[in-house]
Structures are given as C-alpha cells and as structure tokens.
Symmetry: C2
Subunit: 291 residues, 2 copies
C-alpha cells in the first residue's frame, strides 16, 4: 500500500474506455474552450462530502443530479456509470479524513452534441471554525418572486447549474458588508436559501426549512438534519418563512455537503443565539452519515 | 501566402509570452476542470462580427468587456493587450467574408488568484434566412422586476457573464413552442431583451429600444442601428415598452453582433409586419461597420 495521500483525483467520462471513465492528470488541461460549461455555464453539478473514502448522501446527490440534468434538457446521466466513477474516485481518497468530490455534466463541446462529464476529488477545506463559532450573514434580494419556479421553469430555479455567477457575486457582496455568507430572500420577502447552502430555522421546538415549491434547490443535507432534529424530540416542517422569522429565530443554520452545518450568529448585524451543544451534535450526525 | 482558410483560431493570454498572448491548437484542451469559467460560469465575454479580418464595433465591445469585468470584481482587462490579441486573431480570419470572435475572461483556476483569458475565432454561421424572412418569437417572463438592476447589483444584470444557462433554457423553451427566439419581459410587464439580442421597436416614425436602466445588457449593435435610423429620418428614443407595445409595433428587430438585425414576424403567434426594404438597408449598414 502506498501511504501517500493524493492531493487531487480527476476522472473523465470516456465512452471509448471499457469502464466508461478514465482517470486523468488533474494538473493538465482537459476542457476545450468550446465546452459549453466554460462558455455558457451550461451544465449541472453536485458536490458532496467523502469521509475516509465513503461518499455521503450519494443517492440523494445522484438523484438531484438527474433532476437537474432533466431541467436543462441534458441527456439523462447514466446513473450506474456515475455511481461507479464516484466510488472509484472516492476510493483514491480513502486516506483522507474528509474530502470533497464534485461531479459535473456539461452539454459538451458546442456543436458536438455529446456531453462532457468529469469528477474531481480533493481534501475538503477546514470549516471547523465556522461550525464552532458561527457565521455572520446578510440578507440579499434574489430578485425573484417566491412563486417564480412554478410560473417560469426556464429560470431553472430547482436545478444545480454551472451558472453560479450570481451566487458568487452575492458572496462577494456579503464580504463587502463584513459578513461571511448571504441569505437570499424573494422580492416579496420570503427567505429562500444561501448561495451554496440550505437554511434551517429553529423556533421553540420546531425546526423549519423553506418549502421546496420556492425557487430554491432541494438540499441534500436538510433531510439528514430533519432526521437528527426528530431524533432529539423536535418537530420539523417546511414553510414560507418571512425575513422577520429569520431575524427572530431561536437558531439558524446553513446546511451544505462540505461545511455540513454552520450556525448563524448574526443576520444583518442582529445577533442570533448559537446553541453550541445542539450544533455540535448536528454536525456529528452529518459527519457520521453513510449512504 | 497560404490561401487556405483556417477553420478556427485560438489564442490564449499568457503573461510569460513576450506579446502577452499566444496562439494555441484549437483542437486541444486548454482549460483545467478547476477553471471557474467551467465550474461557476464565473467570467465575462464578448462576441463580435469580423468582416474580412476587420472586427466590428471593437471599441464598444472592449468597453463593455471592461464594464462586465468590473461588475464581477474581476481584475481590469488590459485593454491594449486584448485589442492587440483581437486584431491578431482577426488577421488570421482575413480570408473569411464574415467570422465571429469570442473573447473570454474568467476568474481562472480556483485558488490560483490568476484570471484566464482566451480568444477564439471561426467563420460565422449563416443567418441570411433569418435576416430576410424574419423570425417568430415568444415572450417569456425573466422573473425580475424592471427596476431590479438598481436595487440588487449582485444580480449582475448589466454584465455579460458566462452564466448563460437561463438564456439557453429560454431558447429551448422558445423552440418547444415552435418559435425561433424568445423575448424576455420583466415580472411587471416591461419588455427587456432577447437571450442573446437587443430589441428594437418601431412605432410610426420612431424607433425605440428598452432603457439601459432596465436589467438588460447595453447592446453594441443598437448604437449603430440608431445611427442608421436617424440617417433615414426616423426619431430614436429609449423607453420602458410594455408587452402590448411589442405586440402592436409597426416593426420589431432583434439586434446582435453576428446575426446583425433579424426582423420579428410574429410575437406569441400574432403577426408583425416585416419591412424587407428597411431591414435590408439596416443589415447592410451593420454589415458595413468598421470601428
């Protein structure tokens, strides 16, 4: 056994290869400048945590990957191929305590009619400080009404697309305001999601998350967080939280696959209580997930 | 002189190269899978027409490129370098009657802190049928209020970003409805722009285009179209056109750098008059542009 830990793993889907994908040198360029991922953000992705070589919530991520691809009229991802490829990449990260795998399906090189797919894995960044101390967030208008997903599917609001420029701009705006992250609200005042996280609110003994009919992504970590909440005797529900309910919550968390659960310690400068014990147990629950 | 016409030209910005860029083999991969162009649509671009080696509206495109980059907090593009690179690529396309050059600046490989820039040139697709016969369009809700650009700059509405998944989804929705193109309206009913074009409306002897305070891209072809309109005795103005004004217009055109001017012959199935003579003269004016 080679004890050295690989810094990075890259695999590329390849129909000519017997197993349907092949490993590649992550230091070398792989994509054409005409790949629609790079010229149009025209593709979908998933990012998930991998603990000691075991991908977390793999089925949930693959299911969302398929739904996202359908939203964009991409060819349906061959699930079993992707699963095998993910497991093969994860295996090479077995020596890493916690790593992250991103899988991407783009519409491919313009005019080729053939999608491009790749998987990259690397050690996860260290989010322990955010998980312990909490984060400051600001509320930003996402510009959409809360019901836009139902009326205008071409806005792709349920899909995890590569077109993330607005999400990254929102994070820069948050930083400009001295915050760590942003929370999007709809133009009519409903709390939606964070640029790369799902929101969890606590009021008394109830944990809520924004309803999936809103223009948001169905969080893959939120399911597990609800499981945890119920296991400690809390009620769980989906709702259309107003911004005031965010500001007066007894607890707020941003959930995502790699940071897991980050407690919010302030919203637009107003303090939010951070329950270290509850958060610690929630993070541990998410950390221990298998699929 | 080699009389063969290159099918495609690719140049990549390269700080180590004495002239600041270098030509590359367009058939080979150039981009890392970790380039934020490919993973986040996090960059800006311009596309312009090149007639027999002469880029059209180059200054206007470069100026918008700089504005887009500023919106995304990208490093300011070195204008003179980009100009030289564009002209060098265009020179290699001198044997092509009409070609298209795309220039792209991305935030670069994640974590590198260094942007990626490239230029690709190729013969333009043939849009003569659309220009002559006209196109059918459908109106789609862009989901944003008409004043969102002023209130929420993080939505990047004035910037030409690589995050175009919604634009391409709108084009697929248009095709599903049997149309050639889409026209976006705001959630409160103001006509905005098409996914890859600026809109021009004619009512009597007045030509209007949606106001630049709207969440739209400032069209680089629209200036020239206004020049043309005034040269034939029409008035020009910016406005906040309602959808009804689109439907009852005496003429509608979609303007873009490569298709130039495509007359609209129907909006959601209602016929719009196509003035072949005016359109032909407008296209010729745009075709003859130099910078």
């Amino acid at each position: 056994m080679n004890p050295s830990i690989p810094v990075e793993v890259l695999a590329v889907l390849d129909r000519r290869h017997p197993r349907g994908f092949d490993f590649a040198d992550s230091g070398r360029p792989v994509l054409s400048v005409h790949d629609l991922a790079a010229t149009r953000g025209d593709g979908v992705f998933e990012t998930f945590g991998v603990r000691a070589g075991h991908p977390q919530a793999l089925n949930a991520h693959l299911a969302r990957f398929v739904r996202s691809a359908a939203s964009l009229d991409l060819p349906e991802p061959a699930l079993e191929l992707w699963r095998r490829a993910v497991l093969a990449v994860a295996e090479r990260l077995a020596g890493v305590e916690f790593s992250v795998i991103k899988i991407v399906l783009s519409r491919g090189v313009e005019g080729s009619g053939e999608p491009t797919g790749w998987l990259s894995g690397r050690p996860a960044p260290d989010h322990s400080v955010a998980r312990r101390r909490g984060i400051d967030v600001v509320v930003l208008d996402r510009g959409y009404r809360h019901d836009v997903a139902a009326t205008s599917p071409w806005l792709l609001q349920g899909a995890k697309t590569l077109s993330y420029a607005v999400n990254t701009a929102a994070l820069r705006e948050a930083a400009r305001r001295g915050a760590d992250d942003a929370v999007f609200r709809s133009s009519d005042g409903v709390v939606l999601e964070a640029p790369t996280s799902t929101i969890l609110l606590r009021h008394g003994d109830t944990i809520t998350t924004p309803d999936l009919g809103l223009p948001i992504l169905a969080g893959t970590t939120q399911d597990s967080a609800f499981d945890f909440a119920r296991s400690v005797g809390l009620k769980t529900s989906f709702s259309l939280p107003r911004v005031a309910e965010l500001e007066n919550a007894d607890g707020v968390w941003l959930l995502s696959s790699v940071r897991l659960a980050a407690p919010v310690r302030s919203v637009d400068g107003r303090p939010i209580r951070v329950d270290e014990q509850f958060t610690g147990a929630l993070v541990q629950h998410l950390w221990d997930r298998r699929d």
